[in-house]
């Protein structure tokens, strides 16, 4: 993949973003689901607008966001803190209802949380009162469909065998995140929604976790929406990086990352990777400044 190709793509994306999501009258769908391997989009977000109402003062968190995520696509949502990234994820998960617009998954409007849409939280949310084994079994157990071999396999793959009877607090941060990943995978979701899952880990552990996540993703063919404010992480992981503006959150630009797979960690030093990174940093820098000004203004 040459530098020229990516630049071409950039111009298409620029055009799309200047169209503006609200003026974009055409029905979204197959055209924008460019990264989808199967063509049809799994997740369709149309004009998603979310207004929070903390004590009377309306806060516009997300303003008319359009985004499609294809089957088996790995999409990273990149944006400065407080830009509404998590709000988007919470709307897809079904925790929040949009103020305007809608989110469809598999053609159906999202209303409630559902086991087909699994979530990994920023701070690990393993149940502290359950052992690692009990946590891993939780999803299947709710449906009385525990497959012990599958749980064993997942724990083994993530280096957690032997820790089944340990409680989460007895494990390191990296192991806790792996256990949370196991809990999610044991439930076999169609899409994995991950909200800055590795942001609390040290740099080394973070790298290892990213590689493990990619291994799992490549092996099991799943759809992932991964939220991060770490530019390098976004490019390393994603098929497409969706750069968001500062609040109110909109899509600023979409970067298609055509780095070869499987990805290895030494890739981050290549020229190709660096050029993606420069572009993303340029895009996000202004937004980060705006976000900071907003935070200071409060």
């Amino acid at each position: 993949m040459s530098r020229q190709d990516t630049d071409d793509r950039k111009s298409t994306d620029d055009r799309k973003s200047t169209d503006g999501p609200l003026q974009n009258g055409q029905r979204p769908g197959s055209e924008r689901a460019q990264g989808g391997i199967d063509g049809e989009a799994l997740v369709e977000i149309d004009g998603l607008t979310k207004i929070y109402d903390p004590g009377g003062a309306d806060v516009l968190a997300v303003d008319g966001l359009d985004l499609d995520i294809g089957h088996n696509e790995f999409v990273c949502l990149l944006g400065p803190s407080g830009c509404g990234k998590s709000t988007v994820l919470e709307c897809i998960a079904g925790y929040l209802g949009p103020t305007e617009g809608e989110v469809r998954v598999d053609g159906e409007r999202v209303r409630d949380p559902d086991p087909s849409r699994g979530v990994v939280f920023q701070e690990n949310r393993l149940f502290p009162w359950k052992t690692i084994g009990e946590n891993a079994r939780f999803g299947p157990q709710m449906r009385s469909a525990v497959d012990d071999d599958r749980i064993e396999e997942l724990l083994g793959d993530t280096g957690l065998d032997g820790f089944e009877d340990a409680y989460p607090h007895e494990l390191s941060g990296g192991m806790q995140q792996r256990a949370e990943l196991v809990r999610l995978l044991a439930n076999d979701p169609d899409i994995m929604l991950m909200d800055e899952p590795f942001s609390g880990l040290d740099a080394m552990t973070k790298e290892l976790m990213q590689e493990m996540l990619l291994d799992i993703w490549e092996e099991e063919s799943r759809t992932v929406l991964f939220i991060t404010h770490d530019v390098e992480e976004a490019i390393f992981l994603a098929d497409r990086v969706v750069v968001m503006t500062a609040r109110p959150g909109e899509v600023k630009e979409v970067i298609d990352v055509d780095l070869e797979r499987p990805r290895e960690f030494d890739m981050v030093t290549t020229e190709e990777f660096t050029s993606y990174k420069e572009r993303a940093i340029d895009l996000i820098h202004d937004e980060a400044e705006r976000a900071m000004a907003q935070a200071e203004g409060q």
Binding site: A93, G94, Y95, D112, P113, D114, P115, R117, G118, V119, F121, E123, R125, F127, P128, W129, K130, F138, G139, M142, R143, Y167, P168, H169, R183, L184, N187
Partner: protein, 309 residues
């Protein structure tokens, strides 16, 4: 000055490091120091206070336990020595009555236990309801909050009027005292249960829902276990308050029990028995809280609760 370096305790006196006595010794000194102060205040007298009316530590301890030549009646005879263990701990009758201190202690403990058990059975489900449902919180909490403002001891007169006394196997049971204990234990358990439920991080609920749990499963697997440390903290606090209230209620309305014993001893000017009663209440309160804490921490290997009373 006392410095702590790598677990070694020492202090510096004029540039030289002098080791501190080991920890158990310091802790024993704490008790010994207290007993000495008590003895000294009583023996030497302190201006303003009428310490001469109060027994010293030695009289109190001999009232609790002593060894005498086995004579007529009192004491537990040690075989082959001609000696006998005497004192209240050996089962000697108190207040010139027939009952031993164990009888009174059992009575108080029974009242505390039944009051706390009934309080738990009501306050925990109620707290879970109020904590999970905004609607029920609106219906129930204002009334409960205003009742909570009344100190439990202030319920004593009303409860003596309201509750009957039973005669059972020649012993009269005053249910009023149990009710006062119930009031004392109920509110800390209720408040801690409500707070325990309301303080649960939303993301735990969300995680469970996204894993496929329905409302009932969320309650069973998330809400209840997440609130459990707080609930058991409430129960432990409830027991502490139970001991406070049982003493107050027994002074006014009990025919038996450590509170009754202590106050009767005061009326009869048996001051060593007063001191013994105080020590017994303290010990029973401490032991029962410790038992509940131990049981609570065994039930919840993921969470250690500590309660400062």
């Amino acid at each position: 000055m006392n410095t702590r370096t790598f677990g070694l305790d020492h202090r510096r006196i004029r540039g030289r490091e002098v080791p501190l006595p080991p920890r158990w010794m310091r802790r024993t000194l704490s008790i010994a120091g207290f007993l000495f102060l008590w003895w000294w205040a009583q023996a030497a007298g302190v201006p303003y206070f009428q310490f001469e009316l109060f027994p010293g530590p030695i009289e109190t301890l001999t009232a609790l336990v002593g060894v005498e030549a086995a004579g007529e009646g009192a004491g537990v005879v040690i075989p082959g020595t001609g000696m006998a263990v005497t004192g209240y701990l050996a089962g000697e009758a108190v207040l010139a009555g027939e009952q031993s201190i164990y009888f009174h202690a059992f009575f108080s403990a029974f009242r505390v236990a039944s009051g706390v058990v009934v309080a738990s059975l009501l306050a925990i489900p109620l707290g879970l309801l109020v904590g999970t449902s905004r609607r029920w919180e609106d219906y129930l909490y204002p009334a409960l909050e205003s009742l909570r403002a009344i100190p439990p001891v202030a319920w004593v007169p009303v409860s003596i009027l309201l509750f009957p006394t039973f005669q059972l196997a020649g012993v009269s049971f005053t249910t009023a005292v149990i009710f006062v204990v119930f009031i004392g234990a109920f509110f800390p358990i209720l408040v801690n249960t409500v707070e325990g439920v309301q303080d649960i991080d939303t993301e735990y609920r969300r995680a469970a829902e996204s894993l496929g749990a329905d409302a009932q499963q969320v309650f069973r697997h998330v809400v209840f276990p997440a609130a459990l440390p707080s609930i058991l903290t409430g129960v432990t606090l409830g027991i502490g308050l139970g001991w406070i209230t049982v003493v107050a209620a027994e002074i006014v309305g009990g025919n038996y029990g450590i509170g009754y014993l202590t106050f009767q001893a005061y009326r009869l000017l048996q001051t060593d028995t007063v001191a013994v009663g105080m020590i017994t209440i303290g010990a029973l309160g401490y032991v029962s809280s410790a038992i509940v804490l131990w049981a609570a921490n065994r039930t919840m290997p993921w969470n250690e609760i500590e309660v400062n009373q």
